[in-house]
Symmetry: C3
Subunit: 670 residues, 3 copies
């Protein structure tokens, strides 16, 4: 995408108001007042676009697009496959999804079609081609929004057949399948590929190889569906870029793979501000921003966010004054070229009628939300030079969806919770506190270019991973890993011999036993050298404590209690031109902070500031010739900041930054 | 009903003891000793009455009724439709209910027949006519007890068809249906009425208009079934009055509508005494007594209560000595003309064998329960002049079942709990603490005659409601409403423009945003004028805080913290000859108490006593020429009471009332 | 079984490693190093043994058994019915179980075949005969391990038919059935046996007679299946003893009945050490050891235990050093002639890949677990003279599975939890603290030979029970029972008249009402005579308080609060040559301790030591001429012990016993 503005606006559903032309007119007037320049149309419009099979109704959309065009408002156009019309489900029940208990869904809800059904694919192709032919060359249309929030799985006979073919393609022989899935256990040996069935609570849920491959299949089949949606658009002659809107902490699909099918990554974010300390919410939200950005390592879009409170979370909490601004600027800071809302105007009925919107049921301009939305619009206009700027990171953390699938599906070592995401975010946060940009990548991502790579709870070492880590470290990289790493291969079969498999020489140790701790139980990690870790006498650990046999590593910390008191817990050693670090237990954040601070100090990584106050997020976007350093205060107090050189784009040089405030500084590159 | 005694007795199941004539004989002797004058027969007797299709067996019932007659014991006769015989389910599976997952029930349990099935209706008609022909003119029979504790829903094809017809009748055109249910959202537009299906977790649960209409249909279809049951009785020539037994806090059916079908309201009450402070349990129980009484605004019956402990609650707690008396007298106080138990004799086996009864498995007279039952029987004899006396209330609170259906089904503003019933009961309790009789009515009830009307969380303003409130206030009424009021119309579509819809001028404000609070979070309501609310510096609020724009109202309290600190929370203003009050947040009981006390003081409402001690309930029944003032002490201590003028029917003029004691005072009207 | 060694070893699955002959070789070498002398083969081997219908593959098993034989390792050989091959489910779906919702299982998981299916029985018979013919006379094979961890139920049409026949056999007439199940209640009268259906959430769950008989049927049908498995082995000419492996706290089957079908009892134990204080875990584990031993009152086997941590519990906690030894020796102490593990070698994949094993994925000898396993092996060699020694107990506690079924299925008096097992274990623990061996028996077990018999919460008095108790006490026995006893007969019908039915004269009281207490509520039991119970002023009780009318009993304690303050709670009276004790409430352990200590002191029961420190378990096994007194310290501290006379087999005479230490002393009988 080659943008000349920060995209500002969001989902707009004029089809809900076709009987109220006065409201449609007022909407555009209010958008203009609020500096809105972009809307997303067509999500869930299928019934209106094709009210009877093959009979299309585009008039209303023509009209609204013309009027938006006159108002200078760009359009992101959605394909309507997220929810199908009733007539289709009635005539072709195969388009309805079948659940894991093998029950066919009735019509209703959304995001619940069969991804395999030839009829559904054919119907989607037809409507997509119609849309693309009619609007696919229009200048106003800047992006195709393919369907909506893909997810879920279907267990219908068509999907079973597709899965069997997928398995056959992958393993070629039944013997290879039995080997990979360890079917001898519990006597589950397959005699033929025809016996393969998706996991089901009525049948098999404990064959982890099957579960893992089923998840892979679901993700790939969804990808295949997406590819067909896009192909229809291209076949109809439109070459406008495409996106799908992804979701926070969603791991039903492998987004790393799906990102390859589209031109631009976008995602929907609904952080629960005002629940935990804001900086924790901001860090989690920032993590997922960085995950999305890292998928293609280019600017992405925030496709949905809420200008007020959502209606579907357990408690609909209002955003405090200023938080909308902070949330919007955080997206920009992390590399988004948009601030888009769900939704422009609140629907009058149905399940999301209480979801926050730019224009609410009251409909006036004299609302707190409309005023704040307008202010954000103004600011985004003032910083439009950031559009297209990119993000460079010296450090990366690995968050791998396949790793998560396998680890969380396994039985043991802690069925009450492994806390994988938390472990990854502890590394992420430790880097972020130093003001560093962080890439969030999967294990298949190239390591070259990074100076430090953290791989917490890297349970699954797919083929080649260990070798690539060894190369990375040999050439000067710093690699950090933790407990429960390097245990299984890509089919969830345990490595025989010492672990982390293939990295025991690099780390100078092998993992022996792993101890599970009950909720509330703790151990401590005690630094060996008090001069290095001066902040705390010891660090609290919980959930999991890995015991290790150290061969050559240097011990940095040992366990403080239990029968393994005094045994090594944190180690490092040089390897080639780099270093290998190992953290044995699920230890508190401050331990990560102190350790990573020291690792960064000893590395060649540069920090944007020497000192960053608690609760302040620092992020950098770059363009040829200059960096944009963005500071945001997510603490509850004014914080003192020394901005140093650079030109202010937003905020003031008062020496302080107030809660929810954003400062943007342009610094020339040296 | 024209009664000459307080009905005293309860459910009796002689069909369980037909092989034990000695026990049946002993039962009647013991009933007489306990002053029991009424039993309910025939609930769940169908298998015994009609052991084979069309072969009736009434001999045993003839005998038992004759013997009861000789003992002077009246009979409430039940129709047996609450549970059908096995042969019927075997031969006609359509009588079995289908659940929301579309699974047909197997035979078993109770209260689970299809209300639509023509065969079930025909079989019920036949047995009802047989019963009515045989017993329907017998003087001993004083009431028809239609079925038992109606409830639940059926999703079978017959019900689907009936629902489709119901929807078609209501909306006439598919366009009107789509409009009412806001089906454009998520593209769920109906092309034809044939596509309408009841809500299902396998299909649609998020179309609130559908959910709401389905609940209405279920209630009406049940009503239609009840009407047919009654018609059979009438067609067979019996004109004895009818009742159905309703339930505590049950909102699966719209009791306001069903009450119109029957002659007398009755209900089953099983308060969990000795769990919370007794006065809270008594207040809740009293609320539902008043709800039942208000349904027809005439004396009603307590059809079931437990003389000891139930067996189906989580903990079977014994009633402390005296509590049975207090519970029984509370029913009388609130307008019941009966004290009826489930059950006279404990069943020997099956699921309720441990449910409390007048006669237990031991079978002796030397039990605590039997002695207490006998004492209650004596007392009821002594106060029989209260029978037929009515209840007059100057104040009413609105508890509306449709409002509850809609509000609790909606997504937001607090999916973790809206606490509607609690909100209504806070108003109720504040009035009751002043010794006032309170009517509990729905929104459709006439307002004329009330001096104060409280409508907490009146989310749904059905057509005409706002106008009727305006009339009420214009003519001098005091109207109180709260946060989250006047939001949607009768199809759960949001009102556009300012809310509470149609009452913004009356109240002098409009609702803007509503803030959800997490469990444990609080705000405070701070009185503006400390001379008016002297008891507390501030009142704690939780769950929901409504923000308002005040146009002309006078502010009584403001918020104490958060970004809306200092903004108005409680207001009032004169309108016509009356006043409109608004309470913005879910505030603690004491705030309601202080506010309502002041409102009542400034009104023309008269209180029976100037001072009522904490934990004492005061209720008044009236007859031509006199009032019966009933005091009950639900606190844990003796309380001082000044009875003033009047003649004592129960209790003493000692100046104190002890825990669980009841005092009844007859006062001549002036 | 006539053993000359403590069986040491466990489950071994060479079929998982047929492609790794190097590993199979290494396994045997490591077993020998660890003093392993026995392995269990063939559990879950069906797919490998019969890869196609009727085509057997025994070569691999021949080879491994020969090699084990050469290494001097005995074999326990399993029949493979615990999990069937895929081809069988595919060809004969009737072998798959149907759940209570009437859904047929898909292929997968384990322990889920239909016990009734003629085809499954025929297939099992065929493979069992093949195994028995081939290996059933081999000297190395010392035991048949029939299937694996039997459990669960099937609701398929074949099982329904079998259940109907079972019911018909039991009741002969429909009238008798209706009487027994109290079907008049809720009008559920059966017109014919053809209407009988197993309980289902879609139909009937509240007919307790049906539920109870269904549980009996499931247990007996499973027994019938077991008998057929064994018959196949015998028909094939093998007369090697048989076992089934039972489970901790499992009550889906009536183990007392199943034990009659087999020669040796064995069970699988996975205590959660290091969660509660060890002595509580040890007491629970010891209780189930004693339950298993008492089933046949002869030495039994610990068939499975974990050398490290399991992977299926909520938290996989490592065993602290020494705990493996203590757990193993506890089995020996309670009468096991084996210490067997699940498993010898960890599987590489599938659901139990992280379950602890003698040999782990690392595969080396230099692991903590392998070293501890080796040490246990050494010790077991040193104490082999204990093999075959028996256990004599003067006292018994009744834990009755049918009683539990009935009581926990009933509605009331406390649906939030009756705590039956805890009540039984309180009696058990009070005896064990005195160093007494305790038999854990059901109500049908002979009472002769015991001096004291405790029957807590003996809700169901089956025919003859009360008479047998009266005989026992008349002849000098001491009988203790509690609240909620003697309430129902064998069909869960309440006894009419005074309860505990048939024992009111023996106890000198009758039960009247029972009060349920909410969680957190308490009462107190206050001793009448402070000189007898000097330790505590009162004892806390919770959950349930039984009120009683004392006729002739002497009152030992009374209630401390509530309306029954001062009423009797604990009583006793002489009867014949013995005594009857009654405990009215769920009182804390220390009350049981103080009461039982006094009862034992006044009885003819001999204790092995005068003083036993807190946390030390004392158990005795006996042989002709000598006793083996075994002490184990499950406290966290060194404890002082005076061993007295006898010869040490394990441990030292240092005067102290350290945590997890075991001391074994041989004392000559006098």
């Amino acid at each position: 995408m080659d943008l000349d503005k920060v995209l500002y606006g969001g989902d707009y559903n004029p089809e809900q108001w076709l009987d109220r032309p006065d409201i449609l007119e007022e909407d555009i007037a209010m958008m203009q007042e609020a500096h809105i320049n972009t809307v997303t149309l067509g999500v869930f419009s299928w019934s209106t676009l094709e009210p009877e099979e093959g009979k299309y109704n585009f008039g209303w959309l023509d009209t609204i697009m013309d009027r938006l065009d006159q108002a200078g408002i760009s359009v992101i156009l959605a394909t309507p496959s997220g929810a199908r019309p009733q007539w289709m489900a009635e005539k072709y029940p195969e388009v309805l999804r079948v659940n894991e208990r093998r029950e066919r869904a009735h019509y209703g809800y959304r995001h619940n079609h069969c991804y395999t059904s030839p009829i559904y694919r054919q119907k989607v192709r037809a409507i997509n081609m119609e849309l693309a032919k009619r609007y696919g060359k229009r200048k106003q249309v800047i992006l195709w929004h393919i369907s909506n929030e893909y997810g879920g799985e279907c267990h219908c006979p068509l999907c079973q057949e597709a899965f069997r073919n997928w398995v056959k393609d992958k393993y070629k022989t039944v013997e290879a399948l039995n080997q990979a899935w360890s079917t001898t256990f519990w006597s589950h040996t397959y005699q033929s590929f025809d016996q393969v069935e998706s996991p089901s609570p009525l049948g098999e849920t404990m064959l982890h190889g099957l579960n893992l491959d089923w998840k892979r299949f679901v993700s790939e089949q969804t990808g295949d569906f997406i590819a067909e949606e896009i192909k229809a658009i291209r076949d109809a002659g439109s070459d406008i870029p495409t996106t799908i809107n992804m979701m926070h902490d969603f791991y039903g699909l492998n987004y790393h793979q799906l990102a390859k099918l589209i031109d631009v990554v976008s995602w929907d974010t609904y952080p629960t501000w005002h629940k935990e300390p804001e900086i924790l919410t901001a860090t989690d939200n920032g993590f997922w921003h960085d995950f999305m950005r890292s998928l293609k390592n280019q600017p992405y879009l925030m496709m949905e966010s809420c200008p007020s409170s959502t209606n579907w979370q357990s408690v609909s909490k209002l955003k405090r004054p200023g938080m909308l601004d902070a949330q919007s600027m955080q997206a920009i800071a992390h590399g988004s070229d948009s601030v888009l809302y769900f939704q422009i105007r609140q629907s009058r009925g149905a399940s999301e009628k209480f979801h926050g919107a730019v224009i609410d049921h009251y409909g006036g301009r004299d609302t707190r939300v409309f005023k704040e939305v307008t202010k954000v619009g103004e600011e985004l206009g003032a910083i439009r030079e950031l559009v297209g700027s990119t993000t460079h990171a010296d450090v990366a953390v690995i968050y791998d969806i396949e790793n998560r699938w396998a680890m969380e599906d396994a039985q043991g070592p802690r069925n009450k919770g492994l806390h994988y995401v938390e472990a990854v975010q502890k590394s992420y946060y430790a880097f972020r506190k130093l003001g560093l940009n962080v890439d969030v990548i999967n294990m298949d991502h190239a390591f070259k270019g990074y100076k430090i790579l953290a791989a917490p709870m890297a349970y699954m070492f797919r083929e080649g991973f260990a070798e690539r880590v060894r190369d990375f470290v040999a050439q000067g990289g710093i690699f950090i890993t933790t407990y429960h790493s390097g245990i299984v291969d890509a089919t969830d079969r345990c490595y025989l011999g010492a672990t982390p498999a293939g990295l025991t020489d690099l780390l100078g140790l092998r993992q022996t036993e792993i101890d599970g701790l009950y909720d509330g139980e703790t151990n401590q990690l005690v630094p060996e050298d008090r001069s290095i870790f001066a902040n705390q006498i010891s660090y609290e650990s919980k959930y999991l404590c890995q015991l290790i046999d150290v061969t050559s590593a240097r011990v940095l910390m040992t366990y403080g209690t239990d029968f393994y008191q005094g045994q090594p817990a944190v180690t490092f050693q040089p390897y080639g031109m780099g270093y290998g670090y190992y953290i044995g237990a699920d230890v508190e954040q401050s331990c990560y902070d102190d350790l990573y601070k020291r690792i960064v100090e000893l590395s060649r990584v540069c920090k944007p500031f020497n000192y960053i106050p608690e609760g302040v997020e620092v992020t950098t976007r770059s363009k040829e010739g200059c960096d944009y350093v963005i500071l945001q205060n997510f603490s509850a107090m004014n914080q003192h900041v020394e901005l140093g050189e650079g030109e202010l784009l937003l905020g003031s040089r008062s020496g302080k930054i107030s809660p929810y405030e954003t400062i943007i500084l342009r610094r020339d590159k040296k």
